[in-house]
Symmetry: C2
Subunit: 354 residues, 2 copies
């Protein structure tokens, strides 16, 4: 708490020093989308006190802001941000702008168009995200850091310009649960995680429940997921982290628990991407084959047991065929995510149309 207070003071000091030029407002006054439930710390995806029986790693990762986005409108010709995150060494297979940065989209002709990324300096960063824009009101969507807790965020605009919360007319809500890949490793910037791409393409709010290395279908996690209200689709992209045996043991009860609480909502199971590390490594190949095979078997058993409106996507073609779709043999790069979206989006669109 002391570290946070100190950070807040530093930010406040900078605020005064720069006050003549740019007006900042606390982003907590603006609409925030992508949280699993209301309550808990503002920029935590999940209220970890309410679901205190979840595994420790899932609770820690729940505090990271992946998939959250802030919506606002402004007539300012430039947009700034000032934000703070923990001082941690960034990941070696994810650029800092993705893990700790911000990513701004502005609506143009009904589409969300990339406007600028805010590359972090350090634990406290100040950036002009975009400038020299045309006059007139802009509708903005700001994606938050994929792999960092966000302590504080202020949006800055030119003095005398407007800055108001924006209500997005989402068509509905999709909940996606999974691994580091779901959380967004290794997109180039926050808006490029594949759930966020799907969200922009489909016009649905996405709740990103990707937990790096920890998407293992524990009972406590199924309770947290089943508690989410007004869901139009559940996507389970959670075959990458559990062992083949855990997949065999856990998948059916996990899916059934969600089904029990959401009798009519479609559930889409997605097999793991075929790790490109397995191109030559037979152990990796064996592991992923075991995971995906057991995930698909569980899907078939669930169908056979009478679970309705349950769907499956195989993993083989998710990253294309040239073996170039990952940063490290495991985590998709933007090319890999683009290919995943090309496979997954039409299936999801069909399920949401029903």
């Amino acid at each position: 708490m002391n570290a946070r207070l100190l950070l807040t003071c530093i930010v406040f000091y900078c605020s005064i020093a720069n006050a003549q030029e740019i007006q900042y407002i606390d982003a907590r006054t603006l609409n925030l989308y992508g949280k699993a439930h209301s309550g808990g710390a503002h920029y935590h995806r999940v209220d970890t006190a309410r679901y205190s029986d979840m595994p420790r790693s899932v609770k820690r990762l729940s505090t990271q802001a992946s998939g959250l986005c802030i919506a606002f409108k402004t007539n300012s010709r430039e947009i700034h941000a000032r934000w703070s995150t923990p001082i941690t060494r960034t990941l070696r297979n994810l650029p800092a702008v993705a893990s700790h940065g911000l990513d701004l989209y502005i609506r143009r002709d009904g589409q969300w168009v990339f406007a600028g990324a805010a590359v972090p300096h350090d634990s406290v960063s100040t950036r002009r995200i975009v400038g020299n824009m045309a006059e007139g009101e802009k509708e903005c969507l700001l994606f938050l850091p994929l792999y960092a807790e966000l302590f504080n965020l202020e949006i800055g605009v030119q003095p005398g310009s407007t800055l108001e919360s924006l209500s997005i007319p989402w068509k509905g809500k999709v909940v996606i649960y999974g691994s580091s890949i779901t959380q967004g490793a290794s997109a180039s910037r926050p808006g490029m995680s594949y759930p966020s791409i799907l969200s922009r393409h489909l016009g649905y709010e996405f709740v990103n429940l990707g937990f790096s290395g920890s998407g293992k279908m524990e009972e406590s996690v199924s309770r947290m997921i089943a508690d989410i209200k007004e869901v139009d689709l559940f996507i389970l992209d959670c075959a990458a982290n559990p062992s083949p045996q855990q997949i065999e043991e856990r998948t059916e009860s996990f899916v059934k628990y969600i089904r029990q609480h959401h009798p009519n909502v479609p559930i889409l199971m997605i097999a793991s991407v075929v790790r490109e590390g397995s191109n030559f490594d037979s152990n990796v190949r064996e592991m992923v084959t075991g995971q995906n095979s057991n995930f698909e078997k569980a899907y078939k058993r669930l169908l056979a047991s009478g679970v309705k409106n349950l769907h499956f996507i195989k993993g083989d073609e998710l990253l294309g065929r040239d073996h170039e779709g990952t940063i490290d043999g495991t985590h998709p790069n933007d090319l890999g995510f683009d290919r995943m979206v090309k496979v997954i989006e039409p299936r999801v669109r069909k399920l949401l149309r029903k």
Copy 2:
């Protein structure tokens, strides 16, 4: 020099401690491709002592290993690397595995297939890049760090296995000169810079002369480039760094100097990618439009003055049309590089066929 000595000692110590398990050999005994000329420090792209009149930033960036690759063959079932680079804060818009890591490809059915990336720990790193491979000899190509000087590199294999230098039967050599984008920002890993992708696709050795922020067509640099021997194609992707005025002033003499020393070699000029930061920022848009317009005008003046075998690619379509092809509005992500390759490769293939 002392820091380097210390690093070497640390590496040597680790070498002894681990000697029972993995046999390391100094990669300087293996074939190295991608250097501009022979001579100079082993892993420097350019001999900076020989071209001491180049701008200071170009000389500094010449020491970074972008585009260099090591070729070897081994019957080991696993491949390790131990390497050292400067202790610097990594870039915020490039993952550390791209700037300071290694990227291994293995030949399968005549194609270079991704085998594994070596993610750096720190300034000295040891990694198993791939393991559990099938028996038999593998032909390997290891791409070196995009944005770091490489002080030392050792390749490790299982005791008793072979490890020999490999001669790649390149069809010829392409020299590519440009900016940070040419140097590889912001690929996800070293093999994913667009010149390296082109190299694998086309079977030509590529000399990467991308100098981040410093590809500004100085006279001293043209002398260094014109000195390169046995070139089949020059690619000039250097409209991103100079001001529109510098482009107007420098392009013709730069191209003519190369033409004078290589009368029959095709020269391909590529306009700058349309910065996605310009989607809403009119100043960025104006700057890039000015750069590309002046680059194309210079091309037309060169043609009019009788320069033969000179070619041009416009920048508009290089990153596709969805505005998602960059990490930060300027530097292509893997999706952007993939799209650049799709535009550039057919043109290059045609020029090399002549």
